[in-house]
């Protein structure tokens, strides 16, 4: 295989294998618990392709897309931002509070909310970046800790005498509702559906494009990828790694701040107790499946959204819809294994090609050297 086509095939084989494997595993579990697998999947596909469900799928995917991009920015530099979860929740809560407290003309109001969210997200991620560069604390641990601390801060601030007020007609509490000028109207993109796609989709697509452009077409992006691929080489070529770590974490956190925005500005207009949580971890899974590519992540996000929304029908059929979570877990675990196998196979192929051209075709020794890279 050679050139572009070969790369595309290789990129597709691993995720497709992983999905197929997940279908098999889920089928076995379904069969074991007394549900006919084929019927379950056909029910899901039938329900999942209705216009209303498609709209919901797209809406979920917008959120997941942003979350996965935030994670992917870190991944590109071998930084694990496990803290996207805490970053977006803190950011959405504070942005919602600011948005509900001020009144501005429409575009400015939206811009203010989004900027506050990005700033808060960047700040919270920046702590982890600074701890790593100044004190050598692994960002994996610090972001996990910061997630819990963010949970505590959100719980503290989201109380009736602080930033929250009761929501009429329920015993829920939330921040003051964002007025009309701070909302983003939906778009009727899906024909035959009465509900609308979040208007935030445009901004999400823009962030995806900016991600692609920055990483593959700018010097900063080159430095970032170089640092991720080989830190020693990057330092030798004049990259300031400490500065890169902090900048990357800030960028990742800023995008993480956007994760709550589609929901906040397009549907709920308030940060309440039942604001979706755990999206940051979903983002990690999707970034892994989409292999940090802006297009791959989009497909992975759509798949996740489809699984989650089409599973809603299962409860009516008496099948626990959590089967989808198993499927997602299996997909992630098997896709990372599949990518690793493909990578080893490529290393071996390149090495044996080199060996052939040099006329010293030694099949065994080059095959093993790849792993230490």
């Amino acid at each position: 295989m050679s050139g572009r086509l070969g790369r595309v095939v290789v990129a597709l084989v691993a995720p497709l294998l992983a999905i197929a494997f997940a279908v098999v595993v889920t089928s076995i579990i379904l069969a074991f618990t007394g549900h006919p697998p084929f019927e379950v999947f056909s029910t899901m596909i039938e329900y999942g392709t209705r216009p209303r469900t498609v709209t919901l799928t797209v809406n979920s995917a917008i959120t997941y897309y942003l979350s996965a991009l935030a994670v992917a920015i870190g991944f590109k530099m071998n930084l694990f931002n496990i803290g996207v979860d805490g970053q977006y929740r803190l950011a959405a809560m504070l942005a919602a509070a600011v948005g509900g407290a001020v009144s501005l003309p429409a575009p400015l109001h939206v811009a203010l909310i989004v900027l506050v969210a990005m700033a808060v997200g960047a700040f919270w991620a920046g702590i982890a970046g600074l701890l790593r560069t100044s004190r050598g604390v692994s960002e994996v641990i610090s972001t996990i800790m910061l997630n819990f601390i963010a949970t505590g801060i959100v719980a503290y601030l989201l109380a009736p005498d602080r930033l929250a007020e009761p929501i009429a007609g329920s015993n829920n509490i939330g921040t003051a509702p964002i007025p009309e000028s701070g909302r983003i109207p939906g778009l009727s993109l899906i024909p035959g559906s009465s509900n609308e796609v979040y208007g935030f989709i445009i901004l999400a697509a823009f962030v995806g494009a900016a991600y692609w452009f920055t990483l593959s077409r700018t010097r900063f992006g080159f430095d970032l990828r170089a640092t991720g691929a080989n830190q020693a080489a990057a330092v030798a070529s004049g990259v300031n790694v400490k500065k890169m770590v902090v900048t990357t974490m800030l960028l990742s956190g800023a995008v993480a701040g956007l994760v709550g925005m589609p929901q906040l500005l397009g549907a709920s207009y308030t940060y309440s107790l039942d604001f979706p949580a755990g999206l940051g971890f979903t983002g990690i899974a999707i970034a892994l499946l989409g292999r940090n590519s802006p297009i791959g992540i989009a497909f992975a996000a759509l798949l996740w959204g489809f699984l989650e929304n089409s599973a809603q029908i299962l409860d009516l059929e008496g099948i626990p819809k959590e089967i989808v979570q198993i499927m997602q877990g299996v997909i992630v675990l098997s896709v990372v294994i599949a990518y690793e196998l493909v990578r080893r196979w490529q290393v071996r192929r390149v090495a044996s090609n080199v060996g052939k051209q040099l006329g010293t075709a030694d099949e065994s020794s080059p095959a093993t050297t790849g792993a230490s890279a």
Binding site: I82, R135, I149, I153, Y156, P320, I323, L333, I337, S372
Partner: protein, 417 residues
């Protein structure tokens, strides 16, 4: 501390052991003294009551077992952030087997489910060379999904069960040392300086102790012996320090890493069984509440050592117990923190690290001011204590912490140079 244990194995061990016991006693006495002073000043009697210590011991068990699981994995060089998922699997296993065949069957099933999660992590990281963090994240997703699905599939329709909870698990029973326990309780209630606090500590450790707690303590000691005193442990730890060197000496690194990671999952599952069988007496969705992550934090706090992680788990369990039982006592904890921080600040000043002394002193002063200006601590801040403590320890003492040298690094047989 760790340098003496790992870098110079030739140094005479008896000398160190002689010093260890007095130092330990001195440390415990100093802690009791500190708490007595604070209790007398603040009047928060719950600070060292039998009930609080007993609850703290219980809450420390799941954290400590997750931490011990983390220790096994990381000592063999595999980072395990999938502990949370393995623990969740354990809680389901405990609920499923526990309500049908009794608590001990629940413990067994919890261990098996945890070990299953560990085996998945071992296959992905050790055999397929997947990044440890990536695999751990995937296992957390999978563990949560599997437990939630299995709960909905097995507990719905059973009397007392539902999609998010299992039917009640029969109680396991507890151990109390008769006579001594009552005496300690009476003594602890008399509010005598130092004596009552000491009695509270002892009383808490011997009153209503569950069998799982006793096993947990034994497992801690057994782990220490196995990993540091047996040749099996030496080989296992060598995989975490220098896998290629171990390989060159004939150690089957894959085997040792796999054993360690499966054991790690089993321990996390065992910790989950405590939550389901002893703490709640049923499986409940979301029961672990991030304890797998706290366990990881306790292990790092404890510098990848069994004794250290036990104190970390004890500290986090204690903070948790106070928060659940008594808000007034949490407020008094601020004073404890202020005094402790001041003491550590003085120590680090004597060691010559001025910056951390200033930071610690400033934090201590801030806590003192907080204590003096307020009457209560919001419960959310008490919730954050373990995480903030861990971040503080990591950022102030990261030079003194030493993780296994090859921790988290990929290893492939024959790829060493």
């Amino acid at each position: 501390m760790s340098a003496t244990a790992t870098a110079t194995p030739a140094s005479p061990a008896p000398v160190r052991r002689k010093r260890l016991l007095p130092r330990l006693l001195l440390g415990v006495s100093a802690m009791i003294l500190l708490f007595s002073v604070v209790r007398t000043v603040s009047g928060a009697d719950q600070l060292t009551s039998v009930g609080t210590i007993s609850a703290a011991l219980g809450l420390a068990v799941p954290i400590g077992m997750a931490a011990l699981g983390g220790l096994w994995a990381e000592r063999s060089g595999v980072v395990n952030i999938g502990l949370e998922g393995m623990m969740i699997l354990g809680t389901w296993g405990a609920g499923w087997a526990g309500y049908q065949w009794g608590p001990w069957a629940g413990v067994g099933m919890a261990i098996a489910m945890g070990a299953f999660g560990g085996a998945l992590h071992a296959i992905a990281t050790v055999w397929f060379g997947v990044d440890h963090i990536v695999s751990g994240v995937a296992i957390n997703v999978l563990g949560l999904g599997l437990a939630t699905y299995l709960a909905a599939a097995t507990f719905v329709g059973v009397p007392g069960g539902g999609a998010t909870q299992s039917p009640p698990i029969p109680t396991m029973g507890t151990v109390t040392i008769p006579g001594l326990s009552d005496a300690m309780d009476t003594l602890a209630g008399k509010e005598i300086f130092f004596v009552s606090d000491f009695a509270g500590l002892i009383g808490g450790l011997i009153t209503n102790v569950s069998y799982i707690t006793i096993i947990a303590v034994l497992l801690l000691v057994a782990t220490w012996w196995l990993l540091w005193k047996s040749s099996f442990g030496l080989r296992l730890r060598s995989c975490g320090e220098a896998p290629y060197a171990a390989e060159s000496l004939g150690v089957n690194v894959y085997k040792y890493k796999s054993i360690a990671v499966v054991a790690s999952g089993a321990l996390a599952g065992f910790g989950g069984s405590y939550l389901a069988i002893v703490a709640a007496q049923q499986y409940r969705e979301g029961q672990t509440a991030g304890r797998g992550y706290i366990g990881l934090a306790a292990m790092i706090f404890g510098n990848w050592r069994p004794g250290g992680l036990a104190s970390g788990a004890g500290l986090f369990g204690y903070a948790d117990a106070l928060q659940l039982r008594n808000a007034e006592a949490v407020h008094a904890l601020l004073l404890v923190g202020a005094i402790a921080l001041a003491a550590i600040a003085i120590l680090s000043l004597r060691r010559g690290s001025v910056v951390s002394a200033v930071v610690l002193g400033g934090l201590g002063a801030g806590m003192l001011v907080w204590y003096l200006l307020t009457d209560t601590v919001p419960p959310q801040f008490a919730f954050m204590t373990p995480y903030v403590t861990t971040l503080l320890v990591l950022s102030l003492a990261s030079q003194r912490l030493r993780m296994p040298a090859a921790d988290g690094q990929p290893y492939r047989r024959g790829a060493g140079r």
